[in-house]
């Protein structure tokens, strides 16, 4: 089997260890002998004409975020097609914010989003920093570390990834974290997210492979360290 991963704006959005998500996706495929084609993308024109199963977009600093938002906005229609074609998108923090309609900073104009997720984000004066534990519908957990001042509000009917058991999540108010539409996942969790949430990493890989292959599950891996790290993080203080 083969999987194709695009790391969007890799040279620009590279803080808080988000590269750990790419490392995890690549390794968990390779450990199962799935061929990986990883492409580092610095501007979205580079994705045209190439099929990708997974798009990853991380968080960045404000300055970089502005440049990227302008570039990304030009490919709104392109990403609509990709999403309808069941491409998997994982977006963290700043990347997540750009999947909504817009990001409104304290000063200056709104940064345009690509409206894949029916949500918007506004800058706030509280910085939400600390460990996060998210509870999913099936009672399983996601663990990570959040660090953002933007507050994201989901429109009615948009599915969050889960409820926060610890931490602020989307906006520190409604108790939800992240958003999910089709195979698109946006979240504030750094940490990195995927290394110590191996089940979530595998969910993304499975959905990506199902675009081309008729499979229902992945070959299991031994996740002893991952599970220890996950369980330890579930018990952390804020």
């Amino acid at each position: 089997m083969k999987i194709s991963i695009a790391h969007l704006y890799a040279p620009y959005l590279n803080i808080y260890g988000d590269i750990g998500n790419i490392i995890t996706l690549v390794n968990r495929c390779r450990w199962r002998s799935i061929d990986v084609n990883l492409v580092s993308v610095s501007a979205c024109k580079e994705i045209i004409g190439q099929d990708f199963d997974i798009f990853f977009i991380g968080g960045g600093q404000d300055k970089q975020q502005e440049v990227i938002a302008q570039d990304l906005a030009k490919y709104k229609i392109e990403f609509e097609h990709r999403v309808n074609d069941n491409a998997v998108i994982l977006a963290i923090c700043g990347g997540y914010q750009l999947l909504g309609h817009y990001y409104k900073p304290h000063a200056g104009d709104k940064l345009p989003g690509i409206s894949i997720i029916d949500a918007y984000t506004e800058a706030s004066y509280t910085r939400m920093i600390g460990n996060v534990v998210v509870e999913l519908l099936d009672k399983s957990t996601l663990v990570g570390f959040e660090n953002h001042s933007g507050k994201t509000y989901l429109a009615a009917g948009v599915k969050p990834i889960g409820k926060v058991r610890l931490g602020a999540g989307n906006n520190g108010g409604d108790g939800f974290e992240g958003a999910n539409y089709k195979n698109v996942y946006g979240t504030y969790l750094h940490g990195s997210l995927l290394p110590k949430n191996p089940q979530f990493a595998d969910l993304l890989i499975l959905k990506a492979l199902q675009r081309k292959y008729d499979i229902n599950e992945l070959e299991p891996l031994v996740d002893e360290f991952e599970n220890l790290a996950h369980n330890l993080a579930v018990g952390l203080k804020r």
């Binding site: 988000d18 920093i129 600390g130 290394p195 360290f225």
Partner: protein, 456 residues
């Protein structure tokens, strides 16, 4: 005269008493608590005690402690009396404790220079209270971003600290972010390394801090990269480029535990010897020499001061204990940690200890930005310890290090014992602790009978 009012005198006495008591009881908060209490009582105490003193400040992400320690040696070798916060307590509370300790009961401090290592976030506060005369900025890397939000914020904090044009700036020319710091018409002295003679250390495709030209906003490019974003940089779009440094370290040669180097200061060449290994310490030496140049110190005495410098505990000194060579190196952010990893030999026994206390940075995501891939062919076992040992184990596994060779031991003392056992007197035992693990390690080593040369 500082003219302390009665409340300030009282705060000073209380501070001195607390320093005495904390020394007596060996409380670990000893470097901050007295200053904290005294400032609560008399908020202007730092300002009063530092009034009219010549102040040398050292700020930046990495190398503050080592650079200021080197400067201390050079100043004292030149016969100056120096008050220095050498315990590394670099917030306003720690700085105030240092001043209280150095002051007599009238609030007078008998010294030629106050040498203050200052946290980036504390710099504007210090600067607004007292005139800083010299400010050394070492570099700007990602460090505990959970404190400041982001790198640009750190840069802005330093710019806010440059409150007037009377501060002479000693800047790392090779770091485009430091070099392009917004200043008024401040006098600037630049330092760096020489591109022709310094070979890039093997840091692979590590994510680099992006830098932008302040004139035209274009992304900075490099003729040669020395380390991460440090290098001979230029703007591909306009004439902006790295200025020719006033002080350059031009060649490095390891001779046992010593390093022999060539320095070019104001176009004149000098030979120097010191016992701090590695590229990064060459920057610390270069920064120290740049300040010495700005102060017009006697060069022979300055070089003597460098030669005599003994590294702080946990800053890559080589320790001999129980017939074992041990190298302890503090790791706290991707840039420094990757550099530490690049000097490890394949037959060493490694202990990596990761905590996530406030002083370590609560967010351990930086482990993923660090090039642990440098260890993927490491032959011997790696012991992981500290509160976040399993995150470290996952990181090593993803760096394609053989996971059956990872030993997880949460208790640091147990991990150290196992390290001694595995190393068995041969080769190096290499310990890489985060800050609070290093503090723990200090006590463990004391108990093992090691005499500390310098404490953190």
């Amino acid at each position: 005269m500082n003219n302390l009012n009665n409340l300030e005198k009282l705060a000073l006495y209380i501070g001195k008493t607390l320093i005495f008591l904390t020394k007596l009881t060996k409380i670990s908060q000893g470097t901050n608590l007295p200053g904290k209490v005294s400032l609560k009582l008399a908020p202007a105490l730092f300002q009063k005690l530092s009034k009219d003193k010549a102040i040398i400040a050292i700020s930046g992400t990495n190398g503050k402690s080592t650079t200021s320690g080197l400067i201390y040696n050079c100043l004292t070798a030149n016969g100056f009396k120096v008050v220095h916060n050498r315990q590394g307590a670099n917030l306003i509370t720690g700085l105030t404790t240092t001043l209280i300790n150095a002051s007599n009961l009238f609030g007078q401090i008998d010294c030629d220079y106050l040498l203050l290592e200052i946290d980036e976030a504390t710099l504007p506060n210090v600067s607004s209270q007292s005139q800083i005369d010299y400010l050394v900025v070492t570099n700007l890397f990602r460090d505990q971003l959970d404190r400041f939000g982001e790198l640009d914020t750190t840069k802005k904090l330093i710019e806010k600290g440059i409150i007037n044009s009377q501060i002479t700036l000693i800047l790392n020319a090779d770091d485009p972010n430091v070099c392009q710091i917004e200043a008024r018409d401040n006098k600037k002295v630049f330092y760096g390394l020489d591109s022709a003679n310094i070979v890039n250390s093997q840091t692979g495709n590590q994510t680099r801090e992006l830098a932008y030209c302040k004139l035209c906003n274009c992304e900075i490019a490099y003729h040669s990269v020395f380390y991460n974003q440090l290098g001979d940089w230029y703007c591909p779009n306009c004439n902006n480029k790295r200025p020719l440094p006033d002080v350059i370290i031009a060649s490095l040669e390891a001779k046992g535990i010593d390093v022999q180097a060539k320095a070019i200061i104001d176009l004149k060449e000098y030979k120097l010897t010191y016992s701090l290994p590695g590229l990064f310490n060459a920057y610390n030496i270069s920064g120290c020499l740049a300040l010495s140049y700005a102060l017009n110190l006697n060069i022979d005495k300055t070089l003597e001061g460098l030669l005599k410098y003994k590294p702080l505990f946990g800053r890559s000194e080589i320790i001999h204990l129980h017939n074992q060579n041990i190298i302890i190196q503090l790791i706290k952010n991707p840039a420094g940690a990757s550099l530490a990893l690049s000097s490890i030999k394949p037959d060493e026994i490694i202990i990596i200890a990761i905590n996530d206390n406030l002083a370590d940075g609560r967010d351990i995501s930086w482990l993923w930005d660090t090039q642990f891939e440098l260890l993927n062919h490491h032959q011997n076992k790696i012991i992981v310890s500290g509160k976040r040992l399993y995150d470290m184990a996952v990181r090593l596994k993803h760096a394609n290090f053989d996971k059956t060779k990872i030993i997880c031991l949460p208790d640091l003392k147990v991990a150290i014992d196992e390290g001694f056992k595995q190393a068995n007197g041969k080769g190096n035992l290499r310990i890489l602790p985060t800050y609070t693990c290093l503090l723990e390690l200090q006590n463990i080593f004391k108990d093992l009978g090691y005499k500390m040369s310098g404490l953190n």
